[in-house]
Structure formats: C-alpha cells, structure tokens
Symmetry: C2
Subunit: 679 residues, 2 copies
Amino acid sequence: MTTRLVAARVTSLSFTEALISTLGRRLPRLVIERVSPELDGGRYPVKRTVGAAIEVGADIYKDGHDQILARILYRADEESGWRAAPLTYDYAPDRWHGSFVADRVGRWQFTIEAWPAHFHSWRLDLEKRLEAGQDVRGELLEGARLLARAAERLGAGSRQVAELLASRVGDARLELEERLRLALSEDALACVPGPLDPAEATRYDWVLDVVVDAAVAARGAWYELFPRSQARVPGAHGTFRDTERRLPELAELGFDVLYLPPIHPIGTTHRKGKNNAPSAEPGDVGSPWGIGSELGGHTAVHPELGTLEDFDHLVAAAAAHGMAIALDFALQCSPDHPWVREHPEWFFVRPDGSIRYAENPPKKYEDIYPLDFWCDERDALWRACRDVLLHWVAHGVTIFRVDNPHTKPFAFWQWVIAEVQREHPETVFLAEAFTRPNRMRGLAKLGFSQSYTYFAWKNSKEELTEYLTELTRTEMVEYYRPNFFANTPDILHEYLQRGGRSAFRIRLLLAATLSPAYGIYSGYELCENVPLHEGSEEYLDSEKYQLRPRDWDAPGNIKSDIALINRIRREHPALAELANLELCETSSEQIFAYAKHTLGDRLIVAVNLDPHEAHDAMVSVPLQALGLDAERPFGVEDLLTGERYVWRGSDNYVRLDPAVRVAHLLLVSGQPAPEQSSR
Amino acid sequence: MTTRLVAARVTSLSFTEALISTLGRRLPRLVIERVSPELDGGRYPVKRTVGAAIEVGADIYKDGHDQILARILYRADEESGWRAAPLTYDYAPDRWHGSFVADRVGRWQFTIEAWPAHFHSWRLDLEKRLEAGQDVRGELLEGARLLARAAERLGAGSRQVAELLASRVGDARLELEERLRLALSEDALACVPGPLDPAEATRYDWVLDVVVDAAVAARGAWYELFPRSQARVPGAHGTFRDTERRLPELAELGFDVLYLPPIHPIGTTHRKGKNNAPSAEPGDVGSPWGIGSELGGHTAVHPELGTLEDFDHLVAAAAAHGMAIALDFALQCSPDHPWVREHPEWFFVRPDGSIRYAENPPKKYEDIYPLDFWCDERDALWRACRDVLLHWVAHGVTIFRVDNPHTKPFAFWQWVIAEVQREHPETVFLAEAFTRPNRMRGLAKLGFSQSYTYFAWKNSKEELTEYLTELTRTEMVEYYRPNFFANTPDILHEYLQRGGRSAFRIRLLLAATLSPAYGIYSGYELCENVPLHEGSEEYLDSEKYQLRPRDWDAPGNIKSDIALINRIRREHPALAELANLELCETSSEQIFAYAKHTLGDRLIVAVNLDPHEAHDAMVSVPLQALGLDAERPFGVEDLLTGERYVWRGSDNYVRLDPAVRVAHLLLVSGQPAPEQSSR
C-alpha cells in the first residue's frame, strides 16, 4: 500500500491510457457512473466510522429495454474476498441505491457490478404477451434456453432445479398452463441470481476506498495540558505521575482524549525565554516544540517528566479512566537534536556549510532546524519519521496531533499515514494546520483523520453561519472532520479576552454542541484571558515557555458547565453527528440557533453570542426536519437547567441574559397525540 | 484510439492501481486538483467549437511558503508536441486560471504542470530581508547558486547570461548594491522560466480531452425533408434532382443543414401501408426506415431517388448554397436487406432458427430486424457499420442524424464515433434519442456531437423554465448540445395541433432563439397540424409511409418568419451561444422572456405562449448582466418589426397579441452617455 498511495499523484496520463495499460479489451454492456460516495473522481477515500452503513448510489443504464440487475461489491481490505449487497432502482431520480455495513476499522473498498437480466426481461415480456393474448409457445422455448444457460452457472443442487425447470418449461408435451406456471415461478427467478454470461457483467471503472475509523476519529471531547505544569509542589517541574493524579478529575469532567504537547528532551541552543524572549534565563524550561537534546530526540522522553515507563503507566491509567492519550508529532529539531549530529544530510545546508534554521523572512527561528524532506537521503529520513510514530504506537498511543503539517510535503503525509495505518488502522491523525482552505482540505483528503478549524475566529452569527454551512453542507462532510478547539496555547481570541466568564461559557457550548469533536486547552476552565499584549492572541506568561501551575478549583471556574455539557454529549447521539446540523433563522443578530436530530433524539440550541447583554429573538424551528406538526404544541426541556417549556409552530420566543444563562439546550420531548376529531 | 476509447469502461480497478501499473515511483511536490473543465473525473471529454478559448482552472498548492509557477500543457492531438500556456493565481478563490485557443477541429488534450519556484521564493525573501535591514551577503551566495543551477537548464545563449549573473551575484569583491541590482533584475528572473529540477515538476494525474468540433456541431438551422416528396409532377416519386431544385428557396430561408431520412432501398416484406397500415397496398412506397432490399442496403441509394452520382451532385449543390446534407444513420434492416442473407449471424436467432423481428411486447415490428451487436461475429458487424459511415463520408457527408441510438450499445457508439472522427474529426453525429435523461446525457458524453431534446414537449412557462435551466445552468453545458426541433415526422405536439398559425410562429421563435441549433421538419412552414387521430402525435397521412407533395407557397405559410428569424440568427452572435441564456421573471404565466448577450450583442426576447389570446406583463430585465444602468433609459429595437421603444430600469411593460405579433425580439441599442453632473 505504501508505494501505491504516494504514487497516486505521480505524473499525468489520460484516463484511458491508465486503464488500457492494465487491462485487455473487454467491452462494457452497461454504463455505470456518478457513483457516490466518491471524492475527486476516486482520488481520495471518503471517511466513515466503524459500524456505519455506507450508502451507495449510482447511475446505471444500458441500451434497449433489458431489465438490469446490480449489486455493490465490497470488502474490508484488499486481501479479503468481495461480498455483495443489492442495489435497487428508484425510478424518480433514475438512480440505484444500496448500502453495506463497515463492521471493523480499516480501509474498505467497494465497487459496483451490473448486468443485463435476460431472464427477468424475458419474464416481463412474457407477462405482457400473455396479457395481449399472444401465442407464447415459441417464447417458452426461449425461456427454457435461458434457464438451461442459468443452470450452467449454478452449484450442483441448484443446478438440478434449474435443469428440471428448463426441461419442463421447454417441454411441448406438457400442459401450457403448467409450463407458464413454472416459467413465471419464484423458483425460476431464483435460478438466475447473477449474469448468464460473466462477460456481460460490467464493473464500475474504479474500486473506491472508504476509510473506516474508530469512533474517536470523529468525535470526542479533548483536553490539552502540559504535564510539566501539573506538579502539586509550587515551582516544581510536573511529571507524568503528577499528570496521572489529575485523571480522576478529568474523567469526571467527561473528557475522552488527553492531548500532551511534545514530551521529548528540549534543546538548549538558542532556547527561548519566558514570553518568547530571544534568549533564555537560567532555569527557563524552554518550549516543548524545541525538540531534542543530548538526552535524545523524538523517541525519548524529557527526563524531568519521568521515564518511558512512567509514560506507559500514564497511558494505561488514562485508558482505565476511559481516556486516550494523544501525543504531539512535531517534525522539527532543536540544534541539539541527535539527528543534527547523526544525519546532517537530513537538513538544509547553506552555501557556507552551516545548517539552516527556520525562517519566515524577515522572522528567524534560530532554535529550530527544519528537516529537508526532499534531501538526497529522503528515504532514510522518511522512514525515521515513520519509525517515530511506530515507536509511540508500540507504547499504546493511537492518536497523534500533528504540528503544522502544512509545512511538510503533502506526499510525505499521504505516505506516512498510510504506512502507519496499514498495520495499525485504528491510529488517528489530527492535522493542526491553520492555513488557506485548499491546504487544510487537502490534508484531510490525503489521510488526516481529523482537522483543526477556523472555529476560534468565527464568533459572529454571520461568521458561524457561513463556516458551519461550508463544513456541513458541502462535499467536506465526506472527509473533513472538524475538531473545534475553543482555545489553544497559540490562540486566545479577542472574544475571550474581552468577554469574561460568559464568553468562555458561550464558546464552550458552541464548540461542544456544533462539532462532534471539540477541545479546550487547560486554563480555559479557569477563564484565563490575559493576552501577551493588546492585539495579541498569545497568552501572557505562556505555558509554551514556562511552568504554569494552577488552582483548578479557583473561583469562577466553569468546570460544572464542562461536566454537564460533556455528559449531555454522551447521552445524546444527535450531538455525535456533524452533517445533521440545521441552522435556524432567528430575529436577532446576537441569537444563534440550530437543531440537531438523529432518529428520535431531537435537540434545539439557541445561544446568545453577546457575553455582555441580554437579547431576545424569535427562533424558527425546522419543524419538518424534526418531524413536528406545525399545528400542535410540543414540549422542550432545557438540558442545562431542567426547565420545561411548551413551544408551538415554527416561531418561538427566547430571551437569553448572560447573567443568568447564555443558552438554551433544548430536548424536544415530542408532541401529544393529535386530539380526536369531534364526532 | 479505437481500443482506448472503448476500453475506458472495461472493468474496475482502484485509482492507484491504475497509476502504479504504468508508472514508476516519483513523488509529487505539489497537489494539483479540481481541474476544470473535467467531466466525471476525466472519463469524458468536454466539447468546444473551433476557435474557442478553452478556459482552464485548477487548485494548486504545496506545503510551506514557496512560490509556485504553473502552466497548461496542451496539444491538438496525441501526435503533436505539447505547447504551454501560463496559469496565473487568483488569491480570492485560491485558484489558478489560464486558457488556450483550439484553432482546429480535433480531439485536443491538456494537462497541468506546476513546480516550486525556488528562485522566485528566494527573491521575494531577499526583498523582505532588505526591508528589515538584515545582512544578506549569505543570501546572495544562495541566489548565485540558484542562478548557476538555472543556467544548466538553458540553451547556449541564455546560459551564458545566467552564468554571468550567477558569478557576479556571488562575487564578494563587487559592490553589494550592484550584486543586489543584478539579483533582483528582470534578467535574473528570465533565467528561471521552468523548474530548476525537472523531478520537482508535478503534473496533474490526467490528460484531459477536449473535443473541438466544427461550428455546425453546435449551431445551425436544420430543415428535414423527404426527397421522394419533392417531385414537381403530381403523383411522381421525387428524386435527388427534384430536391436540388428546392435548394435556392431553402438557402433563401436561411437553413444551414438539410437533413434527409434514409435514402436507401426500402424492403417489401411486411412493408407498412399508408398511415402505418399493417400491410401495404400495391404502390405504397413504404417507410424509408425499413432499410434494404435486393437492390442494396445501407450503402446503396433507392433507385427511385436517383443514382449515387445524383446524390453526390446534390451534396455539391447544397454546399454551393452554403448548406450541408445530413444523412440518417438507422442501424436496422428490413427482412430483405442483403445482410440478412449474407450475415444471418449478425441477427438474433430464435430457438426455431428464424430471425427475430423487432418487438416491444406486446407490439411487433415484423418489417424490421434488429442487429445483434453482441453476436459472436461482433467485430465484423461493428466494422461493417463503421464502413457504412465511412462510405458516406467519402461521398461528402459530414453530418449524421443517428436514429434511436439508445437501442444500440453505448460501447458501440463510443467506438464507432471515435473510429470515424479519428480520420474525419469534422464529422458530426446528432443523437435522435428520446428516452430517460441519463441515457440521453450518456450518449452526449460518450461522443455524440449534438442531441435531440424534450423541447417539443416543453410548452408552458414552467416547463420551459425548468428545462432551459437544466440545459444551461448545469454541467450539461460542457457536453450536451441541444437541437431544438419544433416538429419531426414523429412529433406533432398537441400545442401545434390546436394552436393554429400563431402556435407555429411561437414555437419557431422559441426554438430558433433559445438554442443555437434548431430545426423544423417540412410542412411546418405550412402549419400542417392534422394528427392521425385525437390524442396522437403522429401526422395524418404521414410522409413516413407515403408521398406528400406540397404547395410551398400555400396561403398562411410562415416562410417570411423563418427567413427573418434565420437572418437575425446569423447577424447576432448572442443567438449562437447556449449558456448565455438569462431567463427573466415576468408577471404573467403566459409571457416567457429571456435575454442573451455576447460582448456587445444584447438581446431581450419576450414571447406570448398563448397562441389564442393577448397577454401583457412586466418583464424583469437582467440589467447587471446586460451592463445597463438602472437609473437611465435604454433603447430597444424589435428586430421582427423595426419598431423602437425606450425602456428604463428593471421592469418594463410588454403586451403581445398573437393576432398582431407573438413576440418581441429586442436588440438593446445602449444607453446615452450619462448627463454631466451640474457644476
């Protein structure tokens, strides 16, 4: 699979050249096209989670009046045999539909096969002839011939049945009525489950891939913390053991994934000081993203955090609390990284022989050496990068948050993700790319399981509406799984800086109910909101460069909100989906509302986007989508407070005062049975 | 090309398998995707006419901050060398655009190539460094190295320039200012027109095809006539010579294409009589579609029409009048066709050994034997069919109207059209398929140049709006070229049967101004409207089964309308395009209005769809699309009458009384210059 995936965008050839080079000449009897789901003409797989029914559609047609039969061929991987699922025809859209269930994680494949159903056509024609009172004795001979051909394709038992039917349908000595009864019987139809002649079966041009992931690839509540800040003793460097002690609390808050910034030895050359000072003072701990020192590189752990065994222990303890550990995968090196000594050929070399540090002119990052992914020793470098991942997979890590993937070659990611998932298909990759839309989409298409988003910058109703429409109403739903981080160590949005505690409650609720996957970076629960300086999105005294011990129960914390919302997320399947989002019209620019529903679970959310003032609005409920009758009242229960209301019809009133509440999260409890009509 | 085209839908394989099977392992540096125009992931070509600028778009991106350069590679056919046209980047849609002109008929190809522009990136960074006041002496060495690499790729003359520049930019003994001037010079940029390393150039996965046709494939006024009805002597069987005598009149009326139903010998076995009577009376001429007798088959001409030489003479005479002859290509045989005797293996054989006639149970067509396109001797049959086409091509025929293509295999059409167009790319194929939308679209995609449509059945404003939206606002514009026949020998719509002369004028105007290609079947100009019986769309005394001599100047004819409208079509390029249609809102269900514009040619059409009553309406003019200022009046001239009006703003009044006129066909004559603002 390695070579195949990467080679997928190698050079160009015409569609027909590609096929002819592998195949002999065999003419298709039918046309199969516009197959769904299919991305970019089959170039990329769509994504699903395990247990999903994969709905398949296709246009299938041929010349003339023949009946057509068609089926999905699917398999869990390239090594498995094909299984078949039926496709049925819908006249109105002139389209065939079917589905199959992907019951395990892996890179599934499917294609479509169709064939002219000669016996079915003959049978239908026979009925028409009979209805018109025509002499059908000649036709019965034809039917007998078709059944005899069908017999040749059947196993011994069925074959006998088919041969018997053929001989009796074709037997002029029998009563005509009996011959017709047999010809039109279900038994006869059952003799022809497939094509009479395999050469008449047409397959779709491509086998399409479906990446089927573990559920955590699509949904989960993430919590980001720096283990070094978790010490209980003031001033001490936190450890994996300290982090482990926080697990019960984090499990209580309802988190599913614990994401740790890089845990590796940190370089000292050109180490940055507190608040990103150009040089470090003695005692400054440096940025965890300045990876590598004489103590080791990407496969080592920073000694002050503990040992590799301590890490293993943390992974196991988290699992015991129902949480997964996500590691950071940041492909860059401090000048002290062992690779710099051992493999200078993996880095960019200047004309003067020195190794080039990272730059974005005129900015210089002298504490970081970027890797030269296209160096002459590329194969060795790429394999080394892959082996870093496999090393941590062997230590129980199944989730990687990838740092700045858009600054490394797309071909590399396509290769390395496929390499890891080949043996470990459950591995999840989260792309931390904040860049132009095409590149963010491209990373998701080539293999990243999940992606950071622009959510942190979408704060107004207009911004949210436009962005959510893109994420939920375009082809992106097939491959782009958003993770709505409300903050990160790099992003403290002005909205949070200025909006106080209500702003944190609002953004938490939005992130957690709009997207199946969302996250917060620690400090969020304490409503930390002091920027480095006016106009900056960086934190003052950023944990990126120093220890930040905290009192997790400090007054004003919003931990009860977090625990409640995460509990509601787990209890309500409607929140586990993305594409079920229905944005609702409201009469206020400050009231943002939406509905989500899955089977019987129907939620309506109305949020006041203004953290300072109360606003009211009429909210338009998508009655039809929710299966509600416009004429009758329906009950709603606010899952945040337990309050119950009776709503009716499309337009309903809400008033949200951030001093009291920032949102309604309403469960639709259904409508009473319609009253009996008066007699 | 033969094999390639047909093999395009052979069997299925994964996208990556297809590529890997032909190519070695070479990793792409960039991503090139969402290329336009592209149909169904590259499976089918788009269509253009000769002289068109082919607008190409693509998403192109890579990791990091490198500058990118990109170009279109295109060629007129597979044998020609690639030519290049630049692609330029538009930031807002994050997309690259460019174009090339297809200056001759053929199956053009294009793909896209892009590469990281290292020198351009270096140059931009240098400017940023200089602006920040940084020491750039090390950078100049890097620039000199890049220029030296560029020199290796250049021809002798340019190479010397590049080498000189490289040595001077890198020469520490020279003034820094001079080195910078050279490094940032246009001369230096010109040294790097392509990739520094060919391995860094990425090509798009596919070479895409563009079928570039002669203009007549997309536009033209068609006239269908039965040569046998063109005799001047009452009761006589018309001939090619008789037909030739009508050419001056038809040229005067402004027709571009003269389409003749089959001109071959007609079978006698089971010949149909007048009005499709089950058996013919003595003297009945039979249906021209009952092809073949002892006198010959598809390559012969019916002796009563004349000789092959007479036909050649007709083709030449038509050409002299600026008209092309279109022949009917109907792949079916009468029981008397020579192929039945010579190649019984090309037909369906019943169990009793007899050849199967055509049926659509319970209906029987005993005068017609369908061909078995999948018979064992398929290759010979297909080649024979192709040779029929080549035979007529050799006699100067470049347009074939193909009868019922949807009852023959799609693979056959893909093959035979490619076979003929390989040597004769100017050949045009019109698909006469009236079937389900997928099949009609499929025929157009696989190679038919032009297609019949549902136009004859779209008579109400709602029907026209929906259908024209589909034809002009969906992907169909890339490949489906409609020919709006207002009537055919098989279709006399109820609207024409009941609407009188006005109905004929209305439908003529709609057909001729909505679609660049349209047609009428003779008799239309005489407003012939008598059906076989109430509820039938067949003509009474249909020309399909008998001679129909006519007085072409009979009272009430609409020949002056036809001549005028065809003249207007030739004079107004806006009517030569399809996708430029802008439907206009009107305040009446009976008033249908639309605009068409190309460069300076701006037309507004308003049609009363009710042939009986006058109606009035406000018509909404798409001012912005037409480049009109809402605040100032504009002049319009009715090209049908020469009347002039002054309109203003979006909404303008029309009243159309069919007794006087059925439509306005308005040329927008522009707006006066805006008045000077007062001083």
